[in-house]
Symmetry: C2
Subunit: 446 residues, 2 copies
């Protein structure tokens, strides 16, 4: 436990300049066990002290801010692997472990956990925000890859949500209720994750298109072909320009799709050929693919360093990163119509899409010292959210609500759904101590 | 709406003799729209009349019984396809449509909905019970295949749980909360389902083993190999005997695995060869496979008619069907130790397992006129549930809780989890009108 100002400031500081400035918890605690978490939560409930669960703090939607002060519960000391079951292909971990450390631990067993959000994200935080990443098109999101979890609720009860069986029809799905609840229903203290076999073979491929529409049509045709790509990422021409600038490359500055195919050697190659054919039928060109490990790494680096390349374009700028997701048939229309407004803006905006899921991020770069630029970035963000909602999409595919997306939930889900959420929240946390001010808009009552 | 006794009796009659005998609703209604459902529910809430949602009534755990009388809401007239989006690979339906009718509708589009519970099950009922079937090893359960749904809550509110985007991190997962809630939280009125491409090619294979352990080891090795079987079903020697008897066949009466592999032609064959190799490394024999459509149908018939073959063995008998599910590493141990007790019993008991999921059914045949036999069947059921729970498993992999499995939930999930479920139930249905007496054990309070 610490009352040290620097430590509290570190835990409360906003990720971006556009989040509220003062968010410093009154105290930061570092529990080492579920029992300690339960004791802490019980005391907070008794004295009505707000609790902010804190994982890797990589969220960009303000999930770990402490707008009401209170207690920040930093889970970093609870970072152990509790049990690995190779034959069951599952692992039980504490919430503070990072997904990258977990995968290092699993590699010798030929297994991995197939979600890849930003580096630094912890499994607990990934549960809390229902995150995903570039592999979701193949393996699903956090929703699909958690077998059970334990959480401490506001009254101090330690709840185990399910057995360790792969599937179960025994009672309400408390596992899924906690996943995506962003710390507003309880503190996650243990998670059992479903694992996957490390692919035997893989191929990485890349190709270019004259338009976003052509690239999106390839995404649709690929999904309809029944091929299970493990990754299908779309970058726009501005993103390619940023990559060329940052890395001294000379890639064509046009909409680009990148693929990863996995499986046996023969099957990975077969998938590559089928998709190459689909690409050629939709005006694609320059289809290249790599099988050699070094060549694959080099090719995939283009995607991996995309965000970094954006920041290199305009150092000292911040990024507002959007996260809309729509049914796949609307992706081309949404990106194209958004890009007309993005291109007309004075700000530099790049597009990176998880094309198979209909989820895309715009990296809107702005100077945090210029209030006008921040406003312009926010305007563009709004514009895309409203477009996505008009296409039966969501304001957030994988980043979560936090404080940033609350204002869109009523339009997306309707008042009845929000009232239902509020009823659940109130039933499980009557004193509203669990991460108050996040997820459920403050005006919702029932 | 009807008050007719025969109609009420039909809707209230128990599926099995071991369910409570008197379960007749006071009235049966057949709504045609969400608005009608909402009006009905509001009135019931006002007058505190119990509501029992009624789908295909194929549940075997008493979900559709009306132990408190009240109103049975038969959803059979709400059975339309509301919208098909081929490019998005999703379909929006009313709850009363059957999964088999839906798949007939989808076939011309090259798509299908990949869950195959008993014939007659409706999509609404499948949501309510979180069902699955033999394809779950590949495609997951109802939990994984619903994009959003609409439900009428106890206060008449119509809640849409999510957008139509493939993934979303926007708020509590109300979709998953409703899936598996067995009508205790609301009446499902619309569902948007994720669809799959009809496989381009498939291979069906079968092989025999000297022991259940060998067969289960093949299931584990196959899952660890990274091969995505679409089906992997295990039948025991008693089940094989029943099949031989019923169909005049001469199959070896030993533990048997049946597989289905799908994908491209080359990949289906490659998977077959890899699994054939795994089988040979685990004492398997008589590996046969079929590629010709008629031959595949003939081979798969063995599995498809397994339950019918059991009934043919002892006509006029009833079946108590168990549904435990355990982590895969425990499957062999659980089946083997259970079989020692099943074989020692005077009743005929066959085993059919969804081997890739660790889920198995025992068909325990008994004479409903003999109280002693019913008690013996129940004793065997208990025995298996307790064994499964001691192995971190669940009392129900896919059939649901209903009235039949309530007594096991506290042991499986703990009092804290059940209290949490009860809090949610009370928050959303304060008058306890929604399918009362199901899922949450009556002694739970908070």
């Amino acid at each position: 436990m610490t009352l040290d100002y620097d430590e509290r400031y570190f835990h409360g500081k906003p990720q971006n300049s556009f989040h509220a400035a003062v968010n410093i918890p009154d105290v930061v605690v570092f529990p080492r066990s579920e029992e300690e978490v339960s004791e802490i939560v019980k005391l907070c409930d008794q004295y009505k002290v707000p609790i902010v669960p804190y994982g890797g703090a990589t969220s960009i939607e303000g999930h770990t801010l402490a707008p009401n002060g209170g207690l920040c519960i930093d889970m970093s000391l609870m970072n152990k692997v509790k049990a690995l079951h190779v034959e069951d292909m599952d692992v039980t971990v504490e919430p503070g472990i990072g997904w990258m450390e977990l995968n290092e631990y699993l590699e010798p067993y030929g297994l991995f956990f197939p979600l890849d959000p930003g580096p630094g994200a912890t499994i607990g935080g990934m549960c809390a925000t229902r995150c995903s990443g570039s592999l979701a098109v193949r393996y699903g999101t956090m929703r699909d890859n958690v077998i059970n979890l334990k959480a401490v609720l506001a009254n101090g009860d330690v709840v185990k949500t399910a057995s360790r069986a792969r599937k179960s029809a025994a009672g309400y799905d408390l596992t899924r209720l906690m996943i995506g609840s962003e710390g507003t229903l309880g503190v996650i203290t243990e998670i059992t994750l479903r694992l996957q076999k490390l692919p035997e073979y893989s191929v990485v491929a890349m190709c270019n298109f004259p338009s976003i529409k052509d690239a999106a049509d390839v995404a649709i045709a690929t999904m309809l072909s029944g091929i299970q790509v493990s990754r299908m990422e779309l970058l726009d021409e501005v993103q390619l320009r940023a990559i060329n600038n940052a890395n001294g490359k000379n890639l064509p500055e046009t909409p680009t799709l990148m693929f990863e195919f996995i499986g046996t050697e023969a099957y990975s190659r077969e998938q590559t050929k089928i998709v190459q054919q689909i690409v050629s039928e939709h005006n694609g060109s320059d289809f290249v693919f790599a099988e050699d490990p070094e060549a694959k790494k080099e090719l995939w680096k283009i995607r991996k360093e995309a965000l970094w390349a954006c920041f290199a374009l305009v150092p000292h700028f911040e990024a507002m990163i959007t996260d809309v997701c729509v049914p796949l048939s609307h992706l081309a229309e949404l990106i194209s119509s958004s890009k007309r407004e993005l291109d007309a803006s004075s700000l530099v905006c790049t597009v990176i899409a998880h094309a198979g899921d209909g989820n895309f991020h715009t990296v809107i770069l702005f100077d945090p010292k210029e209030e006008e630029q921040r406003k312009e970035a926010e305007k563009l963000n709004h514009m895309m959210v409203y477009k996505a909602l008009s296409m039966e999409g969501t304001c957030t595919g994988e980043h979560g609500v936090g404080t940033g997306k609350m204002k869109y939930l009523e339009k997306e889900l309707g008042l009845e759904a929000l009232r239902t959420m509020k009823r659940i929240k109130t039933a499980l946390d009557p004193n509203n101590i669990m991460n108050p001010g996040k997820l459920i808009p403050p005006h919702i009552c029932f």
